[in-house]
Amino acid sequence: MSNPRRLLLLTALVAGEALAPNGAAAAGWLDGLTVTAAGTANWVENLSRTSFAPTRKDAATYELSLDASRHEQLAPDWLLHAGAEATLFNAPAYDLTNYLKLGPRLGLQRKFGLGPYAPVLQLDTALSYKAARLDADRGWTTEASLRLARRFTPTFKAGVTSLWVGHHARSATFDLNQHSCSIDATWDFSDQWTLSGSAGRLSGDIVANAAWSVWGQAIGGGFGPVVSGYYNSRPWEVYNLYGPGWVSYNVAADVDLWSLALACSVSRHTTAEFRYSSAFVVNKIGIRYPTDSWGLSLVHRF
């Protein structure tokens, strides 16, 4: 077992011991736990995040996640919530991209007033370990987000979120340092159906991929000195993620993100959702990597 895994196990044991000093308290603590499971099947166009269109790889991906969380009101307007999440990602056609991610989450919410229309400010932090199949991508991810949300009518609510993500991988190619801002809105247009959408902008590092035939030209100056100079200044290596000789490389980029989702409450505890997401990545020298995905997910709260 690797050190991070030992550390996670140890953290879970210590936290469990600290939060549940005796059997009765543990039972009470567990009663207040909300456990949610989600399964998602996606079809992703340009999963490989490749700039040269003829070599882009599309694929089906699958995600399973299990989340346990609990909230505790600290003061009349302050709420603390803590939880842990495990996510299993699988892309059968490109199994080197598979990973398991798990870790704890802690957040604090401040509600400005009483009632459903009072605005809520929320600070969230998360730490997770990414046990990627590709050794170079393994490492710790830290996240922090600040969100202000408000309900405007009984059926409409909206929010703005600012998110920071850092991933510290074994290889610098997979290191990420990102910041994004987004707005989102949710409309319950019937007793069962909800339409939601979000739009945002992300700035920071992203990992892209290229077939060696293209990459060789890029770093050799075949696409000009600007491309060659920039790509040679960034970390890259042959990792064969999307085929023999495929290169993974890290670039600084701006990403336009948006998504649209239609959700149906199957029961009080289960929701089915169809989501379209788009990420239009443009790196610092103007190279584009558009990615689109269509996903169907089922979320169940136990």
């Binding site: 969380s69 009632g115 929320q122 007793d191």
Partner: protein, 214 residues
Amino acid sequence: MRLRLLIALLVLPAATAVLAAPAGLTVTVKGAKGEPVADAVISLVPLDGASIPPPAAAGEIAQQDQEFTSYVTVVQAGARVVFPNRDTVQHHVYSLSKAKKFELPLYKPGQAESFVFDVAGLVSLGCNIHEWMAAYLVVVPTPYFAKTGAEGTASVAAPGGRYRLELWHPRLAASVTAEFTLAAGEAARREFTLTLKADKRPRRGGPAKSGGYR
């Protein structure tokens, strides 16, 4: 003379018994399309100065499965209402209504605070953590009240006399009132057809990953 006295002695208890005999009013409430309307509150407020007995029963509005157990509760002014948290999570029950303002923050599972509601009026209840939780407590100045069930009917037992009938529903723009006389021993019937507004409660959302204010 003796015969008259004898007749009077025989008739008086019978007349008294008739006057004191409880009467009843059955109200049927329908929507604009003729559908039965549940949760409509009917109260009969005496107009002829009859003395009103104090509240006989306490009320209860529990929190369970992140909902209030009853959407509409009716009590007589002066009654005590208990708010037991039978859930596994905390709640923050509140009311901003003029008839009774209160808050139960940091309200843990197992707690059961209570309040006396001595002013007649409408008390709108919510939970400041779970935004879809909403309930109404209707405090009426009379012991003669009832709430319609799923079939849209409610029955109130009251002594004969003059009353102001008040009909209230969460989706009604304003209460409906009508004055009428209930004859002793009478089993009266009334029917109301209401035009109801849209339900303004936020919908309980599907599963979410994090707990907290929603």
